[in-house]
């Protein structure tokens, strides 16, 4: 019997047997659940990994010197830390970043960040900055100065515009009198020419973060923020890899310094999401398996006389199996196709919805075809196994016995 005949008659029977809709729904829901759970699980893991990769804070340790360093220079403390294994860079924590008002626009601000070798974005459009550069900055491709109105996407300033105008700051200078901060009438004013642009989304930054050189950062802090200087030197220690952060902290503790992670991540949440998704996937697989077995068994029971007739008319067991298998595969493939269309539409709608919120913009759902393949495989394999097992049983039955079974 030709494949064309099997396909043609299977299509006819699938189209005309309205009961197949139940199997179709079982497989469709199963496929969507498995694909959805896998996508969400991978989305969370991917997001966490992205966040860790983007944001240097997860592999930055803040180290505080012991009291014996009150009488020593800060440089001695930093040099001690620079000698440690897995440490890429050490700098004064005071020089890390500072939020300062813009010139002639004191209600809005720019967050200036130390553009040291390891903290600079990996991809910069235009020129980069060096340690000793002065009066230059790298700013976002889309700059937002009003961060209080965070969700408003209408007031973005194009990075190209900033290259023309630069960024000018106006920082009030404080003085420390008897341990209290007092505002003076002096201001630290500086203009930074924007020489490069970067994407804040892929770097885990806010839209008002600009990088300046370590030299400019030191100057800014020493003049405008010296009143805020810590009594003990505090260092930012950048570690080469997240997995080495704990060992670096142990070594810092061995040297008698206190330390803590600049930013930590709640892995329990990720684990919880993974566990829940795994349970959903396992339950879905078992559900599909049980429901498919019950349903195919019912279909075959309704079809016993047909199987008997086919046998009587000279159909081999293989012919009969090919027919029932083909019918099931047609239903499975339709379920796969519809679930693919539905899943893609869902992702599209969710992503369009997310795009309206800039805080979620970086969380666009990225779904890999692997998630689909797993779901597809399950709803193909389960009916094939079920049908093969049931056919083994029917193969042994005599045609007349099957015909008279009812």
């Amino acid at each position: 019997m030709s494949f064309k005949d099997i396909l043609y008659y299977s299509l006819l029977r699938v189209k005309r047997n309205k009961k197949n809709i139940f199997l179709f729904i079982i497989l469709l829901i199963g496929c969507l659940t498995i694909t959805g759970a896998l996508t969400y699980k991978n989305f969370i893991s991917q997001n966490v990994n992205d966040l860790i990769n983007k944001y240097l804070g997860y592999r930055t340790v803040i180290a505080i010197a012991s009291f014996e360093y009150e009488d020593k220079s800060d440089e001695e403390f930093y040099n001690e830390l620079k000698k440690l294994d897995h440490v890429l860079e050490v700098y004064n924590a005071d020089y890390n970043s500072i939020n300062v008002p813009l010139l002639n626009d004191e209600d809005n601000s720019v967050s200036l960040t130390n553009g040291s070798t390891y903290s600079l974005p990996k991809k910069i459009i235009g020129k980069t900055i060096k340690e000793d550069d002065t009066g230059v900055a790298i700013c976002p491709i889309k700059f937002k100065k009003n961060m209080e109105d965070y969700y408003n996407t209408d007031d973005f300033i194009d990075g190209q515009e900033l290259i023309k105008t630069g960024i000018s700051i106006n920082v009030p200078i404080y003085d420390k009198v008897n341990g209290k901060l007092i505002l003076t009438d002096k201001f630290y004013q500086k203009k930074y020419n924007v020489i490069g642009l970067y994407d804040p989304v892929t770097n885990g930054n806010l839209y008002n973060t600009c990088y300046i050189s370590p030299k400019d950062m030191k100057e800014l802090f020493d003049i405008a923020e010296s009143a805020n200087k810590s009594s003990l030197p505090i260092a930012h220690v950048i570690v080469d890899d997240l997995k080495n952060v704990d060992s670096v902290r142990e070594t810092i503790a061995d040297k008698g310094f206190e330390s803590f992670n600049k930013t930590t991540i709640n892995y329990d949440y990720v684990k919880e999401v993974n566990q829940i998704c795994n349970i959903i996937i396992i339950i879905s697989c078992i559900g599909i398996f049980v429901l498919t077995i019950l349903y195919i068994k019912k279909i075959n029971n309704d079809n016993l006389q047909n199987i008997g007739i086919q046998k009587a008319y000279g159909y081999s067991n293989g012919n009969i199996q090919n027919f029932s298998m083909c019918e099931l595969l047609i239903i499975s493939f339709i379920s796969i196709f519809i679930s693919f269309i539905l899943a893609e539409s869902c992702y599209l709608i969710i992503n369009i919805f997310f795009k309206d919120y800039i805080n979620l913009k970086e969380r666009i759902i990225t779904h890999s075809m692997l998630n689909y393949w797993f779901g597809f495989l399950i709803i193909l394999v389960v009916p094939i196994i079920t049908n093969s097992l049931l056919n083994l049983f029917y193969n042994k039955k005599n045609a007349i016995n099957l015909i008279r079974k009812k």
């Binding site: 006819l12 047909n306 008319y313 000279g314 159909y315």
Partner: protein, 223 residues
């Protein structure tokens, strides 16, 4: 008249370690162009005889010649092939595929017959349905047909591969008198056209049409 079936068999079942004999020295022969009726009460072995003659059960002692070919030692595949080409089955409950139209039901046995080309199948199915007076029912589904019409579609299906033998198991059991007469007339006509028609039936009506009546009693045949 050509002998198409020659049986000389013994058959027994084993039930709870006991041997239950069904047929003992059962000798039967059937010729083409004749209408045979096999009658007997329930449990006398009619179904077992249909299974054996229809090549659906080859677990028996003795020999079975179909068209002078000993079929008792054939493999399942060879038996299936022979069944497809040599035997047309008709059952009491018609047993049409409810999801296929009348002509598609007739085509179904042809799908495994390599001697009939795919492009000839529909033409042949329509010819058979026309012959049985169902030309205006070819595109109907079984549920849209009366019992008599369904049985005529089943007869067309039985004739699909032009078999020499028509094996009918209670073909009028579910029909009224009028349709019973129609079906027996059709079967009689087929025997006149050279088919060997074997009808297993409770109905005494069949005696009117049969050339030879076999009565099955206690595992033996009485002519």
């Amino acid at each position: 008249m050509k002998e198409v079936i020659n049986l000389n068999i013994e058959k027994s079942y084993i039930l709870k370690h006991k041997i239950i004999p069904v047929f003992k020295d059962l000798k039967l022969s059937f010729e083409s162009g004749k209408f045979y009726a096999i009658m007997g009460h329930s449990g006398c072995g009619k179904s077992t005889l249909i299974n054996i003659m229809g090549l659906l059960d080859n677990e028996f002692k003795g020999e079975y010649f179909l068209n002078e070919k000993n079929v008792s030692k054939l493999s399942n595949k060879e038996l299936a092939n022979l069944r497809n080409k040599e035997i047309g089955f008709i059952f009491q409950e018609f047993l049409l595929d409810k999801y296929l139209k009348a002509y598609e039901n007739v085509i179904f046995p042809m799908l495994v017959n390599k001697d009939i080309l795919p492009k000839e199948r529909k033409k042949r199915a329509l010819e058979l349905l026309n012959m049985l007076g169902l030309e205006d029912r070819v595109n109907h589904f079984p549920k849209e047909l009366s019992g008599g019409e369904q049985q005529r579609v089943a007869i067309a299906r039985a004739l699909a591969n032009n078999p020499n033998i028509i094996l009918a198991d209670e073909p009028t059991g579910d029909l009224d008198e009028e349709n019973e007469t129609k079906i027996f007339n059709i079967l009689k006509e087929l025997s006149k056209k050279g088919k060997c028609v074997i009808v297993v039936s409770h109905s005494n009506e069949v005696k009117k049409y049969a050339d030879i009546v076999y009565k099955l009693q206690d595992g033996k045949i009485m002519e």
